[in-house]
Symmetry: C2
Subunit: 372 residues, 2 copies
């Protein structure tokens, strides 16, 4: 596919139709998965939170033993006008430098995706700097960098629809080659700032709870970042997040966040489970779930990051762990790039092997507790 083929921008009605097409959890598959788990040669429920995870996977895919052979990291990069407010510990040039690092195979996500047997698609969703031609780089050419959300919208409605459409199209294309689990991943200096704004708007939590240190700003920087997010939210006081999530994305989002929201909807529409990474991809999932509520049934939490707002965003999506669908890892990662989800991916894949390969009590001739 050439750079933009298949990425025709949907209009708002077309996008809403995609969102309405996302199927809910398949309760029959969930029930069958629960029943199978109880026949396997292990004490009842002894796999702890792995059991509801496998039930959720069945409900998403409709398969009791989905195998997740084809694993894709969709790594979207973009710049953020709000970087001009001094909210990040790193210069904006690092976004483009890290894209080159991804393409050269030197970043954390490269090592972790290789270890997990996942392929990576690198997408320039709106990097400001000039990036050289590279056969592995997908360019969307929507715009270079989003607006400074402290002062203006991140993007226009048409740009947001273009980014959502592109995310959906990238998933459609990936599914042609095989796609059993999607890891949305991101790079974008300053992108915890729009994520905190989105999380505040969707969850109702104040910036004091949604703004963290990102890549490592100090206490003064943290206070400043909170005031920047508060300024952005002040601009958006008139918005109804549930009725017009597209407007929220335009005001407070970012181009990589929009592409990933589109990809998440696109995966959910195909019953492809989405393994979320950290705060930014969970922010994209907040947008996706506001546009298409059934998306939640297809989300899994790879990890819980060190960003304080991440737990709030996960809870808003029902990924808190109370129902056993909480994050697989809690290692205080704060790297992004899909790294936490890629680190968790082998755990998810191994869990599916339990469902497929374990013997039942009857097959193995093992006494169940009822036989005592």
């Amino acid at each position: 596919m050439s750079e933009q083929a298949g990425m025709d921008r949907m209009d708002e009605a077309q996008w809403q139709a995609v969102c309405r097409g996302v199927p809910p959890a398949d309760e029959a598959a969930a029930k069958a998965a629960r029943a199978r788990l109880d026949t396997l040669t292990k004490p009842l429920h002894s796999l702890g939170n792995v059991e509801p995870l496998l039930v959720r996977l069945a409900a998403s895919t409709t398969q009791v033993c989905p195998q997740l052979e084809h694993r894709v990291v969709l790594l979207a990069a973009a710049d953020h006008g709000v970087a001009a407010e001094g909210v990040s510990a790193y210069p904006q040039a690092v976004t483009a430098q890290m894209v080159l690092n991804f393409l050269a195979g030197g970043a954390a996500i490269n090592a972790l995706a290789a270890a997990a047997g996942a392929r990576i698609t690198v997408v320039d969703a709106g990097v400001t700097a000039d990036l050289p031609e590279h056969p592995q780089l997908r360019r969307l050419n929507i715009r270079r960098g989003s607006g400074n959300i402290a002062r203006e919208p991140a993007m226009q409605r048409g740009e947001a629809l273009a980014a959502l459409s592109a995310g959906e199209a990238l998933v459609a294309e990936a599914s042609q080659r095989g796609l059993d689990v999607l890891i949305p991943a991101e790079m974008g200096i300053a992108n915890t700032t729009p994520t905190a704004a989105l999380t505040s708007l969707f969850t109702g939590a104040p910036p004091a709870e949604t703004v963290g240190r990102g890549t490592g700003i100090d206490k003064v920087g943290l206070d400043h970042k909170r005031s920047v997010v508060a300024q952005a939210l002040h601009r958006c006081a008139h918005l109804d997040a549930q009725r017009d999530p597209l407007a929220v994305l335009c005001e407070l989002g970012g181009l990589e966040i929009a592409v990933l929201a589109g990809a998440i909807v696109g995966a959910a529409a195909r019953r492809i489970p989405v393994l979320l990474d950290g705060y930014i991809t969970t922010g994209a999932a907040l947008v996706a779930a506001a546009m298409a509520p059934n998306v939640r049934a297809h989300l899994l939490a790879g990890h819980r990051s060190a960003e304080p707002g991440h737990a709030l965003a996960l809870a808003h999506l029902g990924l808190t762990g109370e129902a056993g669908t909480g994050p697989l890892l809690q290692l205080d990662l704060r790297l992004g790039e899909g790294s936490g989800a890629a680190l968790a991916l082998p755990v998810l894949v191994a869990a599916t092997r339990l469902m497929r390969d374990m013997a039942t009590f009857e097959q193995a001739g093992v006494s169940d507790r009822d036989d005592t």
Copy 2:
């Protein structure tokens, strides 16, 4: 090697010499690992608890980038006389039935070890029932089942030394084929009971804190199990756990626990990191660390199980997470067999890939924060 070749029982002086030979953490390697982590293309410390994990791995192995290619699950099974007290939800026959399930490849550990690329060695450390000949089964022929610790010692001093020696010899043998990380694993109906007793004795915590529901006993069963552990501890009030850990093992242990304690010492002596599974293997590590304090430097926690005493035992070994060396997974697993460690193993292996494969800021031409 034939069934018992190479497993000559050490005498107490020989065993103590093995214990004294366990090397401490290599601080130079730890320092080099820390230095390398800070040059890699990621925000400083953004890999969270993975960073101290990699430092610990370096300190254990003396290598900054150990590769953990050869992964072994040493799965020791034994029966426990204390099962006669009705402390388990399952009949004792299940121990032998599960050994056959391991040999047939139908248990959780088979699926998880395969997913993690680990080989399994199944050891009959003292199963009561007759087990058929099987080319993959290692028999130790020390004794069939331990004594009922509520009323009598689990084993005699010579039997404990035989089991420790066998564990050490099994590691020696495995290291001939290649052994870069050891997962001690166990099967033994009722074996959370001796583990709770060992944990109480080594940590000083009362049975109310160290006894849990194991494979799933009810509240009445839990109270009874606590009284059984209290009875066992009462028999041992005269013991000094730190001065004579071998006596503690004899009074309160189990044959698989003794074999695994020997294996853990044997691995640590060779600077082979040990990835602990759940409560029982951590109990074996308590014994090993009491015999050879330097063992602690070679321990990693695969997960924290649903058994309440497990966190106490991990904390006693310094695996609490405060120094970033806490459990990799916290999924409320309570299956044993090495399953939690095997599920965590791919996370550990992927972490080593970060150290090996990531580019440095200099190599990738990425601006570090100091360049801003």
